[in-house]
Symmetry: C4
Amino acid sequence: MATYKSDTLKHKLYSIIFEAETPAGKAFDIMLLLLIIASVVVVSLESVVSLRRDYLPLFQMLEWIFTILFTIEYILRIYSSERPLRYVFSFFGIIDFLAIIPTYLSLFVLGSQYLLVIRVFRLLRIARVFRLTSFVNEGQVLSKALRASMTKITVFLGVVLMMVIVVGALMYVIEGRESGYTSIPKSIYWAIVTLTTVGFGDITPVTPLGQLLASCLMIMGYGIIAVPTGIVSVELANAERLNTTTRVCPNCYKEGHSLTANFCDNCGYELHREEAVGSNI
Amino acid sequence: MATYKSDTLKHKLYSIIFEAETPAGKAFDIMLLLLIIASVVVVSLESVVSLRRDYLPLFQMLEWIFTILFTIEYILRIYSSERPLRYVFSFFGIIDFLAIIPTYLSLFVLGSQYLLVIRVFRLLRIARVFRLTSFVNEGQVLSKALRASMTKITVFLGVVLMMVIVVGALMYVIEGRESGYTSIPKSIYWAIVTLTTVGFGDITPVTPLGQLLASCLMIMGYGIIAVPTGIVSVELANAERLNTTTRVCPNCYKEGHSLTANFCDNCGYELHREEAVGSNI
Amino acid sequence: MATYKSDTLKHKLYSIIFEAETPAGKAFDIMLLLLIIASVVVVSLESVVSLRRDYLPLFQMLEWIFTILFTIEYILRIYSSERPLRYVFSFFGIIDFLAIIPTYLSLFVLGSQYLLVIRVFRLLRIARVFRLTSFVNEGQVLSKALRASMTKITVFLGVVLMMVIVVGALMYVIEGRESGYTSIPKSIYWAIVTLTTVGFGDITPVTPLGQLLASCLMIMGYGIIAVPTGIVSVELANAERLNTTTRVCPNCYKEGHSLTANFCDNCGYELHREEAVGSNI
Amino acid sequence: MATYKSDTLKHKLYSIIFEAETPAGKAFDIMLLLLIIASVVVVSLESVVSLRRDYLPLFQMLEWIFTILFTIEYILRIYSSERPLRYVFSFFGIIDFLAIIPTYLSLFVLGSQYLLVIRVFRLLRIARVFRLTSFVNEGQVLSKALRASMTKITVFLGVVLMMVIVVGALMYVIEGRESGYTSIPKSIYWAIVTLTTVGFGDITPVTPLGQLLASCLMIMGYGIIAVPTGIVSVELANAERLNTTTRVCPNCYKEGHSLTANFCDNCGYELHREEAVGSNI
């Protein structure tokens, strides 16, 4: 109740910068969205030789304008936060910091300005602008399924890593330096290229024995891609089922409310969202 | 009741051109099917240098014949429609228009006649000829599942796009112009080629650090292909389940009739197919 | 009851050649298995230049020996069949015929002996030797699931085919002859190579617009591979469920007998296999 | 009860080397983990030409130190085992043996020391160190699903193998030696590269007919990857369901306890874990 004037300003700033409920907050987020996209496009175009030759001063000026704007925004975000340190070390706080630092670094380290494309990750927070609740909800289902699959996928990747190390070493011994397998690390790189079915073709086996081993590796890679897919399918089916069926209206007992529902769509009774969400995720 | 003569003609034309119930309508559709295939084959063959040299006049004549026939058909379709504007701006109306315009354009713009292959999409409407109801039905199940997956897949593709932009910029900084990573857009193209496990090999990393980052990207691409697959599997299972279980016989209340069933397989009561299909899709 | 002598001989031959229940039938099948593998290995080795130079007479002699043995077997199969014509035009009858004809053709057409590798398909019938009922059963589940998926996969492949034709033509217009897209058919071949994520790299886009279109095609190919996978997963789950749960013993009502079971494993009552199988497949 | 002194020593050694319950056993396993990783890194780095030139004596010394330590460990493992022969011929016993023998072999056979990377498989036993029960449990679910899929996947791979042999021979006949299809074995290698969607591009079809056949093979490979994926998904869903539902509390009969639960989460009755696990896996 007893808020200071600066606190009111802070609160107003907070609602503009961090939220998108008010018209001002929404306008701010849309402007930010456009700035981020423009800035990533500028960085990308700057790297094209022909454009760089002709428009370098323009690109550099734009880059500094974007960086200064983002720096001001960053400072305002810290200022308006209730707990500034918590913001600074949050996921988005770190992204926001990394999104401005390369321009300053480019004064000392040549080429570091290209790292500015990390700004693209700032778009993640913009989902909120369009009130994309269904997108956010689907994202939650996806990330819940991925989290649930994490242990199984780690076990899977561990075994895959051991396999490519051993096959890489075998190919190094079989094919030798002449065929491009110049060292075990490079052969492991080749084994990864092959097992993942990417197949650049920069290094390829030429001896019959090497081609036989490569064939085995390819068939293995073709077969075991089924494993992560199966894992994610099963976990996604689980996450979906939980997401759509476990919320029950305590008034009329209608089942299957979505995680984002605030009221029962049958009788209009208000649903206690936090509890329901908490029990699911 | 009080229909003019021209209206009767319109109606007759409509049933021939748009439907395939009458013998005349069926014959029309089969002829159209053959014309479309022939026209796409002619366009494709015209692009082969050796054939072009020898048969160019023949190809051009055929192209004009096909185009004039399709133009007449297009005009008749507009004429016989109840609501011509609605047809013109429908999906098939636009396809029909795009399928004739390149030939006229080729008088002014060289090479635009090759865009005639868009005619191949006109085949989509021909399914009807063979009364391929089961095909149409399966297609509906598929597209329902895909529509239901759309939000999740958009979220997924958004994250993938951010990833390839950042990895592309990193590779540009790491590998530099010598290895073929001549600009950030081109590096992003490489990152897409790699993440999707296509792996042309026109650009490949040569520095150890670049190969390490490429390995991470490949393993990531190999792992996350599981995500869209899992999404579609789950949605398809849902669509299938709905497809086979929501039709209820209004007489004996037995559930789970297939979409193509005309009678209840329990009591023989005639099922109202259109309604049932309509309520599902 | 009143069987002629030759009929008894025919019957004996039939049980040796077509069945694997008797010791003689089993020995025959194992010998046949070894002959088929040996014959495919000989054909493959003959094609290796260095081996061909040194051992051509040996290879040719072995080839003729194998062919004559298989020809005798083919004639005996026809002779011992109850309905010879039905055998001749059955799947295995055609394979058996194609497995001997190339050697005779090689007298007139050079190189046709390499088609002898079609013999490898004869191995399909050998599963029976090892009484691999579980393999045969799993094979039935798989092929049932694939048959059930066929309509959906045909719809899917039809749409894919239209897509590669249109993208192929677009790339031909965009990239032109200089980049290797020398004709629309070749561009369609490239589009298939890209969409299926094979990515040979023999033809690659070089213009920025071409690389953009290729990127879209790759992401599409990466995403839509989910469709056949989802289809097969769902059908396989259906086939599995039917396979293990719908057969009920009419005596003790125990559920879940496998499709190949002849007796109830609970009470020993004989199950009517044909009916049960018929109702499932 | 009447254990000799050496038996006590054996038992103590056993608990240190084979188990990770005591502090000494844990310390031993962590040290072993670090040694294995260090040894694989040294072998890999030795193969890099520039490093090999400068540090060969260092690498060779480290290699001998690791080998001697692992040899001592191997002898102690045999000594402390209750049934030494059973250990020697167990999976890990063979890996442990193969992990030391290449260094001794390298005295006679040049280059065999690179096979030392097989040591990486020794990491499999280290999971125990971190009491990674959830990892081990997930690994068991995965391997149970893979074992259950084995018959179906064998049938699938058998058919795939027949297909690549026939397509390989056809491509050899169609394309001939000029395009790189120098022999049937090499063409089979190409068919595997193509069917698995790896697509190195070291050999590619150049004739229209060859490109048509390659297109069919690619579309087939793109489609049938759905089969192993579908198989594993279904089996994994089965394994998951069994994993979470077949454990029943013998006191209150509540179902669905996880494999790692020690007490019933309904009535608190202690669950006999080994039996339950044993009955599931």
